[in-house]
């Protein structure tokens, strides 16, 4: 479904990614691991269309694509960022629908925001996520878990084919971590692919089918979770093990 061919990214003199190949099949959960600065977030932002790679090629359903945030969404790629990319001053519903607001036509012509429909849909999404977030609450007043739920609800809004999750369990409680992992499994069962960036080895080994390790911008491992171990991945991340 998604294919990266020898993707590289330079920021001025700094090479953030070099020659990364990656394939993702429908319904596959891939854990992307690496130390700080290894290039995980850069890779995610390339797939989300926020950065255009400086070399290499992206393919979507076999076709070469140049992704922008909008076109990535149109292809069914949704990203949830580490900082959750929420607007604190707006309600949960406004954040869920940001950039994709629903309209109704006043007097048949004038497009106006359809607050009722948006509130109803976001309440449904929070229900599906098992979150106690309320649609009208300002994000500023929400807990870490509720904020995570808001970001996930936004990503689920369009029934995506690929979800990019950047450290989804970094800022939430243990109970909520279990919920997020359960959600990832539910997505996979629905045929949604997930690219999961995480520092938490246990998350990756709990839900991922494959683990990909980046070190200093290069891919040093790409193997089935069943054939690897946390010890091996730790060694790959730190460089104790060169490649696997």
């Amino acid at each position: 479904m998604l294919e990266l061919r020898s993707v590289g990214m330079r920021f001025g003199a700094v090479g953030a990614l070099q020659g990364v190949d990656l394939e993702l099949a429908p319904g596959e959960v891939v854990g992307l691991m690496g130390d700080n600065g290894a290039g995980k977030s850069t890779l995610l932002k390339i797939v989300a269309g926020n950065f255009a790679p400086t070399s290499g090629e992206l393919r979507w359903d076999g076709q070469p694509v140049e992704l922008t945030p909008l076109s990535a969404r149109e292809h069914g790629i949704e990203a949830v960022y580490q900082d959750l990319a929420l607007c604190d001053n707006l309600s949960a519903t406004a954040n869920v629908f940001l950039g994709r607001e629903l309209h109704r036509r006043l007097f048949g012509i004038l497009p106006v925001l359809d607050h009722a429909a948006m509130r109803k849909r976001s309440a449904e999404l929070f229900g599906e996520l098992g979150s106690d977030a309320r649609p009208d609450d300002l994000v500023r007043r929400m807990s870490g878990g509720q904020r995570q739920a808001t970001a996930l609800a936004r990503a689920r809004l369009s029934a995506p084919r690929l979800m990019l999750l950047d450290e989804p369990t970094a800022a939430i409680s243990v109970r909520q971590i279990a919920e997020v992992l359960e959600l990832i499994r539910r997505l996979r069962d629905q045929g949604v692919s997930v690219l999961l960036i995480s520092h938490r080895m246990s998350d990756v080994f709990a839900v991922a089918d494959r683990v990909v390790v980046l070190r200093r911008g290069r891919k040093v491992a790409d193997k089935a979770v069943a054939e690897s171990s946390p010890e091996e991945v730790t060694a790959l991340i730190t460089g104790a093990l060169e490649a696997a």
């Binding site: 989300a48 926020n50 945030p69 909008l70 969404r73 990203a79 960022y81 900082d83 990319a85 929420l86 607007c87 604190d88 001053n89 707006l90 406004a94 940001l98 950039g99 994709r100 607001e101 309209h103 006043l106 497009p111 106006v112 925001l113 936004r154």
Partner: protein
């Protein structure tokens, strides 16, 4: 008390306006006269109209310091074109066209060249004022050609006992309130002010949103200028000079957050009303007009303090 603290700032300001008006009508006989109320309402209409646009700019996290100078330029151009014998519709189009250009320059530099709104609009404050001086050659223009009566009636006239600019402000404020609540663009304006990067990640065309608010702000300054020269019956290049402070103060007192992400239509109008009321009260109480700046400046700071207390309270 907590629920009071959570009430929107526009409500606080409206209550303050009502309280001040109540006290003034007790202590000053001329205050509640029909003439004085008419004057207050008309005076703040010019400011309130522009404060609506300023509120949208501030809600994106920007600021438009050039509004007073854009008034001057749009007023001079409208006056000159009228004086050359053109009908009002042509002259108004010319004046608004100049305002539009100023807004496009401001907005493009802020949105696409990522320059600081403060610096860009401070530059435009100087440029537009200077252009007004150049093309008017520092003359007062009071011959408005064949459509003079129409212009004077438009800006200086009244309908059902209320000054025309006040009617326009009322309509504009209602439209702006509906816009803030029901338009996607206004939602994006608040989102940009709340978290610009997130809004961009969500696929919102952030630059276009910013460009639009600066254009809107300048256009409203142009509209206000045309009404104002109709009221004054003459225009000099000094039209609107130092108005930016009162306009920004109106928006901020009305609840627009200079950090971006907050602001509303009624707040801007209430803020403009409060400032004009303070000015008027000081005059009626016989306070030396030299003190006005101190009171208006002080009221901005007090409004910010109240806002800070409200934040702490919620």
């Amino acid at each position: 008390m907590r629920s009071l603290l959570r009430a929107p700032q526009s409500l606080w300001v409206t209550l303050t306006v009502a309280a001040l008006a109540g006290v003034m009508s007790l202590v000053s006989e001329p205050f509640a006269s029909a003439d004085n109320i008419f004057n207050i309402s008309r005076n703040f209409a010019f400011i309130g109209l522009i404060a609506l646009g300023q509120t949208a700019v501030i809600a994106t996290g920007g600021i438009d310091l050039s509004v007073g100078s854009v008034m001057g330029l749009a007023g001079i151009v409208t006056g000159l074109v009228l004086g050359s014998g053109q009908p009002l519709i042509v002259a108004a189009a010319a004046g608004l066209g100049c305002a539009l250009l100023c807004g496009l320059v401001n907005g493009s530099l802020v949105a696409y060249f990522r320059l600081s709104p403060f610096v860009v609009t401070l530059g435009m404050l100087s440029i537009a004022r200077s252009l007004a001086l150049v093309i008017s050659n520092n003359r007062m223009i009071h011959d408005f050609g064949p459509d003079e009566d129409l212009l004077l009636a438009l800006g200086g006239g009244r309908f059902l006992g209320v000054a025309n600019p006040v009617w326009l402000l009322a309509v504009a404020a209602l439209c702006a309130a509906a816009w803030f609540r029901y338009s996607r663009l206004a939602r994006h304006v608040l989102a940009v002010g709340g978290n610009e990067d997130s809004t961009r990640l969500a696929g919102v065309p952030v630059a276009r949103v910013k460009l639009t608010v600066y254009v809107l702000s300048s256009l409203l300054a142009g509209v206000s200028a045309i009404l104002m020269i109709g009221w004054l019956g003459a225009v000099t290049n000094a039209l609107g000079q130092n108005y930016e402070l009162r306009i920004i103060a109106s928006a901020v007192i009305g609840g627009a957050n200079l950090m971006g992400g907050e602001g509303g239509a009624f707040g801007a109008v209430a803020g403009a009303a409060l400032i004009e009321l303070i000015r008027n009260s000081l005059l009626l109480l016989g306070v030396d007009p030299y003190w006005q700046g101190a009171f208006i400046g002080g009221s901005i700071i007090v409004a910010m303090l109240v806002e800070r207390m409200r934040r702490a309270g919620r």
